[in-house]
């Protein structure tokens, strides 16, 4: 067991974890942050995407101990004072989710994408989301949501 201290969604947690515990399991099982989900075992689906010190990571591919001393933001920490993050609002407005299973990861990745490139083209958006799978939406409205959040014109 290793002791770690992590800032998650603006709160500090100190816990004993097994060295092999993945960040996603730490979040879900020890902290009850079940908004972040697991969709695969090969780091391909992106369902588990969170921010580590402001950059997106696949939390199934990071050990909890690697987050020691760092700051994690999950989907649950995005809305501030009951106000949705603009990306959350855009996903809602553009109907960019159906079952919603990919959504937490998709939103976290989309925010990272705009942080890197505030006005991406459709092609850049598609490339930037390549590591996040969605089986429901065909990505059409997800692309629209990212365009909307970036303040760009959106085709229908």
């Amino acid at each position: 067991m290793t002791r770690i201290t992590v800032q998650v969604d603006d709160e500090s947690y100190t816990d004993e974890v097994e060295p092999r515990t993945l960040l996603v399991h730490y979040l879900r099982e020890q902290l009850g942050k079940t908004g972040t989900v697991v969709g695969c075992d090969t780091s391909n689906c992106g369902a588990c995407t969170v921010h580590l010190d402001g950059r997106s990571v696949k939390s199934c591919n990071v050990l909890a101990v690697q987050a020691d001393g760092h700051e994690v933001t999950t989907i649950e920490g995005l809305a501030k004072n009951g106000e949705l993050h603009p990306m959350q609002a855009a996903f809602h407005e553009c109907h960019a989710l159906q079952c919603g299973y990919c959504t937490p990861g998709m939103i976290m990745q989309s925010i990272d994408l705009l942080n890197e490139n505030p006005t991406p083209t459709e092609k850049e958006i598609r490339a930037g989301l390549e590591g996040n799978l969605c089986r429901c939406t065909g990505y059409h409205n997800i692309v629209r949501a990212v365009q909307t959040a970036s303040g760009q014109e959106v085709a229908s």
Partner: protein, 818 residues
């Protein structure tokens, strides 16, 4: 069969509006209730030990080391569970003499596919269970595995030696025998002499539904009732089957499908994992949980499609089709799953599609193999049928040297001819294929793209353009119970709804159609808001728990709106009828003088009236009701559809093929679908986008590939190519509207339309680009390798097996480094 005359005036308010979804708020903020999120006091975790062999006798299972491992509470085998584990049912024996082996959740003597469960480890943590599962030592005696569909149909290797054959059932429809048309063999003989005969073998590859939420199940045996939470599409069917096979009375079973992360047919099943969790929970008296890994999901959750289609189309030399003969071989996998063999039969009525064929015959032989069992996957039977006929119509057009639309127009049912009884015996109530086609061609820019295609062809451009057409219809709204009965299906096709008027004027709606991403909460609220004249926000839709929604047949087959929605309308109408005498009593008027409109009961010719919410309040306190009236407005309705409904559409695909690499790039995709009246255009467009993507993925990317020993090679998302955002393009979607005449709202199903229509549109486009090289077919998925080889060989017939990761679309180095 026509309901249109008693359709009331529907105030066009909520219906047809692009309402943003009610269900989004919790999903975008992470306040979700997936089954895997559930933790109960003292809950134990299960891990499965699965056979690595496709076919083997189990000689011995040594569980000693696993039992001794830290935190392990139990290790159980099939022998330990014995009869108490129940069996997994097949609800649809397509013939009365269908052969099927007993399907135990955990067999003790022999495994029949790689991934079958042979032991379960129960421990205090999921990690401890998984670790200990590695320690279970199983001795297998490997048996020859039946892996090739065509060879299996010849009984070369037996999947279940005791059965003596791999053939499960043979199902036939013949229009001459049914009296719905002529003799197909005569039509073919005539065409051979003086017309055109097109003969093709098409492969429907094996697919995996690949819903994003892995399946998960929690069983809590504490308390008077045993509760199961499951990531399922069908809580009611699971409850029924648990009662029927495990000896627990139905009244003691509660099944809950909380938030469910996609299904696409893949969660329309009764699964070994559910049954084992049920048995283990009851045996240990403790809550248990099992959540599969993605690898387990791809390997052991059911697969879809997997057919060989032998098709013979007869036509006059002018191109008028005179007969169609369909001979299918369908791979069941190792057992007949819950709907299993019925899936190809759902296609039996759809091969004739939108056309007027005088003669038709469909036969299907279902065949066992030592692979994962197959069952419903989005479209179920209808994509296969649509693919077959739409590919053939293109071949016929090519034979005649005409545009693909020419043969379609020559053969389709014109809009004046509805209602039309087809050669398969179905009555199509409405449609307008001409209108959808005209609109699609215009939006697509058909003529300009054809011109560009010609120019590229003439100039010998390295990049060639292919244009693919698919005009489809489907039967949806499963299903009239009488029809299901005639097909020997084990249940009905009705749906149930309740509407409860609460004292505060809010409305609770209970539906038996349990959603998993479709947006029922929003669409059903819109229907009720209009029907009862209450605010959209005041309607709460409850579903997915057999205790709150005790009756229902769940969500599949594009049935929720057209069957479940109709039940809802009927229940709401009963509420209004119950409220009417109360309104009359309170307004001191005659019942005959009470009118109901936009949520208000008023006295004809006066300005006196009461809102439905006020009536609800009056009924709640019950101080002043008509004599003898039961103080309740709450109403139920169970609706059995009288007919299917038949959405249709015209889909057009343009793609570019790099003839030097075989690389395909989607250029444009246009579809114009007629799905009748639309409740929520936003939800409909989402269903179309997702459906199209799955159909395109069948054409270009996906296949469940097994190696020679029966191991699933595409057993992870590295190799099973669910398309990414970068693989797809934006779609051009439009509608024409001919309301369905078989339900009050005039709606048709939409959940499967995109998937059904898009696969042949894409493959027709691929073949269209390659025709000039002598190619008349490319097997799906049309990978760059297959396309390139087809060009090189000038269309010479060849079998190119699908490579694992044929179109690698993940950058290996990118594997998610933090």
């Amino acid at each position: 069969m026509t309901l249109i005359e008693d359709r009331p005036d529907i105030a066009v308010k909520e219906i047809g509006r692009e309402r943003l979804r009610k269900e989004d708020q919790r999903l975008i903020t992470g306040r979700t209730k997936w089954t895997d999120n559930i933790t109960l006091p003292g809950m134990l975790h299960m891990a499965m030990v699965r056979s690595p062999f496709a076919h083997a006798n189990i000689i011995n299972i040594n569980v000693d080391a696993a039992k001794a491992a830290p935190h392990v509470k139990a290790v159980l085998t099939g022998a330990d569970l014995g009869d108490g584990q129940g069996v997994l049912i097949n609800a649809w024996a397509i013939t009365t003499d269908q052969k099927t082996p007993v399907h135990l959740p955990m067999p003790s003597a022999r495994v029949s596919f790689a991934g079958e469960i042979v032991a379960v480890v129960v421990a205090r943590t999921a990690a401890a269970a998984r670790d200990a599962a590695e320690l279970v030592d199983v001795d297998y005696e490997e048996l020859p595995a039946a892996l090739d569909l065509r060879e299996n149909a010849e009984d070369k290797v037996l999947a279940h030696p005791d059965l003596g054959t791999n053939k499960s059932a043979f199902w036939k429809f013949d229009s001459a025998e049914a009296g719905t048309g002529g003799n197909v063999d005569e039509a073919i003989a005539t065409a051979r002499a003086e017309g055109i005969v097109i003969e093709r073998d098409y492969r429907q590859q094996r697919l995996i539904p690949a819903f994003m939420e892995p399946r998960s199940v929690v069983v809590d045996p504490t308390g008077e009732q045993i509760t199961m939470w499951s990531a399922t599409q069908v809580p009611h069917i699971v409850r029924f089957a648990l009662a029927a096979t495990t000896g627990v009375p139905e009244s003691k079973i509660r099944v809950i499908a909380p938030d469910v992360g996609g299904g696409f047919g893949g969660k329309l099943q009764v699964t070994p994992e559910e049954w084992i969790a049920w048995a283990v929970g009851r045996r240990l008296g403790k809550p248990v949980k099992y959540t599969e890994t993605r690898s387990e999901s791809l390997m052991a959750a059911h697969h879809g499609r997997d057919q060989w289609q032998k098709l013979t189309l007869a036509a006059t030399k002018e191109g008028k089709v005179t007969g169609l003969k369909v001979e299918l071989l369908a791979d069941l996998g190792s057992y007949v799953a819950v709907v299993g063999g019925g899936v190809p039969v759902l296609g039996a009525f759809m091969f004739n599609a939108i056309y007027k064929f005088p003669a038709y015959q469909f036969t299907c032989q279902t065949v066992f193999s030592n692979k994962a069992w197959t069952d419903a996957y989005r479209g179920a039977g209808r994509p296969e049928a649509t693919f077959g006929i739409e590919r053939l119509m293109d071949e016929l057009a090519n034979e005649l040297g005409v545009d693909p639309f020419v043969v379609r127009e020559m053969n389709w049912i014109t809009h004046e001819e509805f209602p039309f009884t087809t050669v398969a015996g179905l009555e199509y109530d409405s449609g307008n294929y001409e209108a959808a086609t005209a609109k699609a061609k215009e939006s697509f820019g058909y003529d300009a793209l054809r011109a560009e295609q010609k120019q590229r062809r003439d100039s010998g451009d390295r990049v060639q353009l292919g244009i693919g057409v698919s005009t489809f219809t489907e039967m949806c709204g499963l299903a009239p119970s009488r029809v299901l009965g005639s097909l020997n299906y084990g249940a009905g096709g009705w749906e149930h709804a309740s509407v409860r008027m609460l004292a505060t004027g809010k409305v609770e709606v209970v539906t038996g159609a349990s959603a998993h991403g479709q947006g029922h909460e929003t669409a059903f609220s819109q229907i009720i808001a209009d029907r009862l004249g209450v605010p959209f926000e005041d309607v709460e839709v409850l579903h997915g728990d057999t205790q709150t929604a005790p009756k229902g047949l769940d969500t599949y087959g594009s049935r929720s709106l057209v069957v479940g929605g109709e039940a809802l309308v009927k229940a709401a109408d009963k509420v209004i009828e119950k409220a009417r005498p109360v309104a009359a009593h309170l307004l001191e008027a005659s019942v005959d003088d009470i009118e109901f409109s936009a949520g208000r009961f008023s006295v004809k010719g006066t300005d006196q009236g009461l809102a439905i919410q006020e009536i609800a309040g009056a009924v709640f306190v019950a101080h002043n009701l008509p004599d003898g009236m039961e103080p309740s407005l709450d109403s139920d309705a169970t609706y059995d559809p009288i007919n299917f409904n038949y959405p249709h559409g015209t889909h057009l695909c343009a793609l570019e093929i790099d003839t030097e690499t075989g690389q395909i790039t989607m250029r444009k995709y246009t579809c114009v679908d007629d799905i009748g009246n639309v409740i929520n255009p936003l939800i409909v467009s989402g269903q179309m986008h997702g459906g199209l993507t799955q159909g395109i993925a069948q054409a270009l990317f996906e296949e469940a590939v097994y190696d020679d020993s029966g191991t699933l090679v595409s057993g992870s998302f590295v190799d099973y190519l669910v398309p990414t955002a970068a693989d797809m393009i934006s779609f051009d979607i439009g509608h024409t509207t001919t309301p369905s005449l078989t339900n009050t709202l005039g709606t048709k199903g939409v959940g499967e339309a995109g998937t059904i229509a898009s696969t042949p549109a894409v493959v027709n486009a691929v073949v269209d680009a390659l025709r000039q090289f002598g190619v008349d077919d490319v097997q799906m998925p049309c990978t760059p390798e297959r396309v390139w080889k087809a060009i090189q060989s000038g269309g010479q017939k060849q079998q190119v097996p699908t490579e694992a990761a044929a179109v690698p679309h993940f950058d290996e180095s990118e594997g998610g480094t933090p």
